[in-house]
Structures are given as structure tokens and as C-alpha cells.
């Protein structure tokens, strides 16, 4: 197997990765399918309310091989989300495992549900 060939970005097909968003008690979990992406090729950017994820998957080139049938190839993934103040920005965690990016967005303490007492108005 030969080394990877770096290509100019922009020439690769772009995809919006399949994403699951799950709310659990502790916060939000985002799962994104990014097969072929290595940690070094993944960029997560948080600017104010915008969480932008982009990555590049470059598959290793093989020498003296003829391709019989292709359904996937080198590509770029990009997607962004808008998050609100309920998320504790300081503690967002991201892990990349088995081609899946998992992001954990904990809820900020002040956003934990608070019960509001309703007073009965007296005439």
C-alpha cells in the first residue's frame, strides 16, 4: 500500500455527514458518521453560537490495482449546528472512534429545569 496523496481541498466531493442528535438527562449527544477520517483531518470550530465540523477522508492509494467497482471515495464532510445558551460551552467533549464522531454537549447548570411556583391571585 502506498502513502496518501494529498489533494487540493475543494476538488473533493462534499457530503453532509449523517447525524444523530440524542438528548439524555446529562445533555446532548451528537453522533456523526465520518468513515475514513483520521483525527488529524478533523476540525471542530465553535464560534459564538455556531458549531462547525469539517473533515476530510482520504483513502490510502494502492499501487498496481484495478478498480472493479466503486461506491465511495475521497471526500469532504462538513456540517454546522446552532447551539443556544443552554449548552455549557466550556465542557463540550468530542471523541472520534471507528469512523464516528461523538460530541457531548452538557447542559449548563443554570439551564437545569426549575419549577416555577404559581401563586393564586387574591382579590
Amino acid at each position: 500500500m502506498s502513502g496518501e496523496v494529498k489533494k487540493n481541498s475543494g476538488s473533493l466531493p462534499r457530503f453532509s455527514p449523517n447525524t444523530d442528535i440524542i438528548e439524555k438527562e446529562d445533555g446532548f449527544h451528537i453522533y456523526m458518521d465520518m468513515p475514513g477520517v483520521q483525527k488529524e483531518d478533523l476540525v471542530i470550530d465553535l464560534k459564538e453560537n455556531d458549531l462547525a465540523i469539517s473533515a476530510r477522508a482520504v483513502y490510502p492509494r494502492m499501487e498496481k490495482v484495478s478498480n472493479v467497482h466503486l461506491e465511495f471515495g475521497d471526500c469532504e464532510y462538513s456540517r454546522s449546528f446552532t447551539i443556544s445558551d443552554v449548552v455549557d460551552r466550556e465542557n463540550i467533549k468530542a471523541t472520534l472512534k471507528n469512523g464516528v464522531l461523538e460530541m457531548f454537549l452538557p447542559k449548563a447548570a443554570k439551564a437545569k429545569p426549575r419549577k416555577i411556583e404559581i401563586e393564586v391571585a387574591q382579590d
Binding site: R14, M34, P35, M62, F72, V100
Partner: protein, 137 residues
């Protein structure tokens, strides 16, 4: 609501996607039509099958080789909780790759890296082309 996932505000992305699909290289035309996507290539002595199965452990993949075909079977589990968005396919999947050459079954190797399954199948001896030297008299 915390995360803006409403489809009402998604128009720019949908337009992007439309143009992406239109300008996509024709070679990768079958992407996303079948799950999981499969690439097949070969050289003189091996057949290589690659498949994108992100989030699946190699223990959950079942690869069987029967006469003339390779079957990739597996199960993608999904998490529990309140789903706000679910786009990642989950559940059982299976793909069959037809092989037109005999394979040395005991030499088949499979590994998983970054969510890509890689299967290397050595061709059986009788399938490898051989040069026959001709002696001049």
C-alpha cells in the same frame, strides 16, 4: 429548543446538497444507494473489498465466503434517549459481492480502520495467470 434543527431554516443547505449531487463525479454514482457502500478492486494475486461501516465493531460483522460470493452481514446498534434527529442507518445490514474467480478461503484477511472494513482475499492458484516460457529449438 437547544439545537436548531428545524427544517424550515435549512434551505441553503438543501440547495448546496442539490448542486453537490448534480456535480458529483459519475464514478461514485451509486453512493448511498445500498448500505453499506462497497468498493472492489483487484490486482494479480488478490481481490480487495472495502466497505464503509462507521460505528460498527469488527465483532459485530460477520463475513462469510460461500461458492462464488462474499457476504458481509452485521448489525448497527443505536443509542437510547430522545432522538431529535436520526439520519444514521441502524439495524441489520447485509451485502453480497459476487466473485468471478476462485478464492483461497483460508487466506482471507479482514480488518477495520476508521470505520472502513478492509477484506483481502487471495486468489486461488489456478486463477493466477502464469507466464509460460517457450523454448526455441
Amino acid at each position: 429548543m437547544v439545537i436548531d434543527f428545524s427544517s424550515f431554516y435549512n434551505l441553503p443547505r438543501q440547495l448546496d446538497r442539490f448542486f453537490d449531487e448534480a456535480w458529483r463525479p459519475s464514478m461514485i454514482s451509486q453512493r448511498r444507494n445500498a448500505y453499506p457502500p462497497v468498493n472492489i478492486s483487484e490486482d494479480k494475486s488478490n481481490i480487495y473489498v472495502f466497505s464503509e461501516v462507521p460505528g460498527v465493531d469488527i465483532e459485530d460483522v460477520d463475513i462469510t465466503l460461500s461458492d462464488g460470493s462474499l457476504v458481509i452481514k452485521g448489525n448497527r446498534k443505536h443509542g437510547t434517549g430522545n432522538y431529535y434527529r436520526q439520519e444514521r442507518p441502524a439495524g441489520l445490514f447485509q451485502r453480497i459481492v459476487n466473485l468471478n474467480v476462485p478464492i483461497q478461503a483460508d487466506g482471507v484477511k479482514a480488518r477495520m480502520k476508521d470505520g472502513v472494513l478492509e477484506i483481502t482475499m487471495p486468489k486461488a492458484d489456478e486463477a493466477i495467470p502464469r507466464k509460460i516460457s517457450i523454448k526455441a529449438e
